[in-house]
């Protein structure tokens, strides 16, 4: 539909503005953070003279606006600048962190969608029934357990007691695929919370959709219960879950700091944390470019799903 194409074009062009907005916001935030790279580098030896000298070597004595302008000019030519701390190019940081992050995100998503939707649909099948109560209670309980506690629990049971899985990805942190077993526990921890939030949303939507007359009509015609659920009710229940899914993917791609540190995986989250701690503005800005782009695209995707499953929106008064 040209309608949709116009919509897409508009959203994408707004998206460019949004990324610019993200960059400006992130720059303001990091500038507003107390201290700068020099102070952070000086650490527990805050000799003012040395800090001043570091500031000079990093060009931090130039006005912030000027630095941003320089950086933005570089960005237009595809140059993301160099790290204040190590002097290495920012692109190197991003590509290094993106690998493990993508692996984790892809694996998690591959499991998350079927598991979360499956549980949600299963729970909605008989609202208030035993399965529903079991799934609801279990997912809610798991959701309320903090990530680190779950991680520690899984490590203790599967790695340290049973000895089945490696407890961390130490030494494989930047290339976890070299030893896929190290990914099992991190992915499990990553799955725990999104499975709950998404399956709850799917369940909520499914209960309403299964109670709707169109589901009743499908049942009347002897369409198998499974098909009624998956093909007839589910499409009506997906829009909020798709939003949540986009958020989850956003979160996964933005780096999942707890899991990365717990299992020693060098993803974008670790890079961001380190960069923030070191006030390494070029690296933070480089990450902001990545996050901004991802978020814009993911939101677009989720909104496409919402539009797709609520086709009447375009027509109603």
């Amino acid at each position: 539909m040209s309608d949709r194409r116009a919509w897409l074009v508009r959203r994408l062009s707004v998206g460019v503005l949004q990324i610019a907005g993200v960059l400006a916001l992130v720059f303001l935030l990091t500038e507003a953070l107390p201290g700068d790279a020099a102070v952070a580098l000086a650490g527990d030896h805050p000799d003012p003279e040395r800090i001043a000298r570091i500031r000079e070597t990093m060009n931090l004595d130039e006005p912030a606006a000027e630095r941003l302008a320089q950086w933005a000019a570089g960005l237009l030519t595809g140059d993301l600048g160099t790290s204040l701390v190590s002097g290495r190019p920012v692109t190197g940081y991003l590509t290094a962190g993106l690998g493990p992050t993508l692996v984790l995100a892809a694996l998690t998503m591959a499991l998350l969608v079927p598991v979360a939707v499956g549980l949600g649909v299963l729970a909605a099948r008989r609202e208030g029934g035993r399965t529903d109560r079991l799934i609801s209670t279990a997912t809610l309980a798991v959701y309320a357990v903090p990530e680190f506690a779950l991680g520690v629990l899984l490590v203790v049971v599967f790695a340290l007691q049973l000895g089945r899985l490696p407890p961390t990805a130490v030494g494989h942190g930047s290339d976890p695929l070299a030893e896929p077993a190290v990914l099992v526990l991190p992915v499990l921890v990553l799955l725990a919370r999104p499975v709950c939030s998404i399956s709850r949303l799917v369940r909520a939507g499914m209960i309403d959709a299964l109670a709707a007359p169109y589901s009743a009509q499908a049942r009347r015609y002897g369409v198998p219960a499974g098909r009624v659920r998956w093909a007839h009710a589910l499409p009506n229940a997906l829009a909020p879950a798709a939003q949540q899914l986009a958020r989850t993917l956003d979160w996964l791609l933005g780096g999942v700091i707890v899991v990365e540190t717990l299992f020693v995986i060098q993803g974008l989250g670790t890079i961001l944390m380190d960069a923030v701690a070191a006030r390494d503005i070029p690296v933070i800005q480089g990450l902001a470019v990545v996050f901004g782009t991802l978020t814009v695209l993911l939101n677009l995707g989720a909104d496409l799903v919402a539009r797709h499953f609520a086709p009447r929106t375009g027509a109603a008064a």
Binding site: L25, G129, S136, R200, F291, V296
Partner: protein, 281 residues
């Protein structure tokens, strides 16, 4: 008739389970501060025994006393944050779903998307650096962090209902925006909202704990279940109670709330009456 009754019975089961789960943390949170009494002498951190029947925490305080003290702030701040997030997100999301003006929709949603793209850690650090908010301020911040997400969910859930003929009919009646948006569109996605709010409550709890650790809002030594879980984690292996008890209370609290909400919703089942099915014999 029969299946309805059965559904109602199981719904009641859910309610009972939810209420049971909720009672303990609720009682502790409400009555705890009165039962806590004066602090005793400090012990060695992460030890058991010596008059501390749940052991000591990371600074050698009695865990039981901390548990008694730590429910109220959890309940109030997290609940307030969730409610606030919804108070802001619901009108925005519904307005975006109900409007026809592209510019309005974009103006409402796109800036929020920008906020979404900024890692929340950065946002939190930032607020930690710029403000020294109290509990109320913290609730505001946590709510603010949750608004963009919630808006998107609300809008996604509302889009379909906003296009129904029933809404058209209300417009034709000159019906007020609030009645249309909250009274009808919001009402028809109640279940989705409840599901989202339920998990958001838990998220808010831990966000508050993280914030406390970064020095925002709750004092780092304050008794707060979520803060306890976060701070006592180093002692998980020698003194698990300092983590396990508050964590279980949080689990009970959030699970109970959600189950009760589920039960309440299934009791007054919304939507067009789906004909109950009986077996044709």
């Amino acid at each position: 008739m029969k299946p309805r009754a059965a559904a109602r019975r199981t719904g009641r089961g859910q309610a009972v389970l939810g209420a049971a789960l909720l009672t303990v943390p609720l009682l502790l949170a409400l009555a705890g501060p009165w039962l806590a009494g004066e602090p005793g002498p400090r012990g060695v951190s992460f030890t058991l025994g010596d008059g501390h029947w749940l052991g000591t925490d990371f600074t050698g305080r009695d865990v039981w006393r901390q548990v008694l003290l730590g429910g109220r702030s959890v309940l109030l701040t997290a609940l307030a944050a969730t409610v606030l997030a919804y108070l802001a997100a619901l009108p925005i999301g519904l307005a975006a779903a109900l409007t026809h003006r592209t510019w309005l929709e974009e103006a409402l949603l796109r800036p929020l998307d920008v906020v979404l793209a900024v890692p929340s850690l950065l946002l939190l650090l930032m607020t930690a650096a710029l403000f020294t908010p109290g509990a109320a301020g913290l609730a505001l911040i946590v709510a603010a962090v949750n608004v963009p997400d919630t808006v998107r969910i609300v809008r996604a859930g509302a889009t379909e209902a906003a296009g129904r003929p029933a809404v058209e009919a209300m417009r034709l009646q000159g019906e007020s925006w609030w009645r249309m948006a909250i009274g009808y569109v919001g009402r028809s996605m109640l279940r989705t909202l409840a599901a989202d709010a339920g998990v958001r409550l838990t998220g808010a709890l831990y966000l508050i704990a993280t914030a406390a650790f970064l020095g925002v809002g709750v004092a780092p030594d304050a008794a707060d279940w979520a803060v306890m879980v976060d701070h006592n984690r180093t002692g998980l292996f020698i003194q698990p109670w300092a983590v396990v008890v508050p964590a279980l209370l949080i689990v009970a609290l959030t699970t109970g709330t959600n189950l009760l909400a589920d039960a309440a919703l299934s009791a007054r089942r919304g939507g067009p009456a789906a004909p109950g099915r009986t077996v044709t014999s």
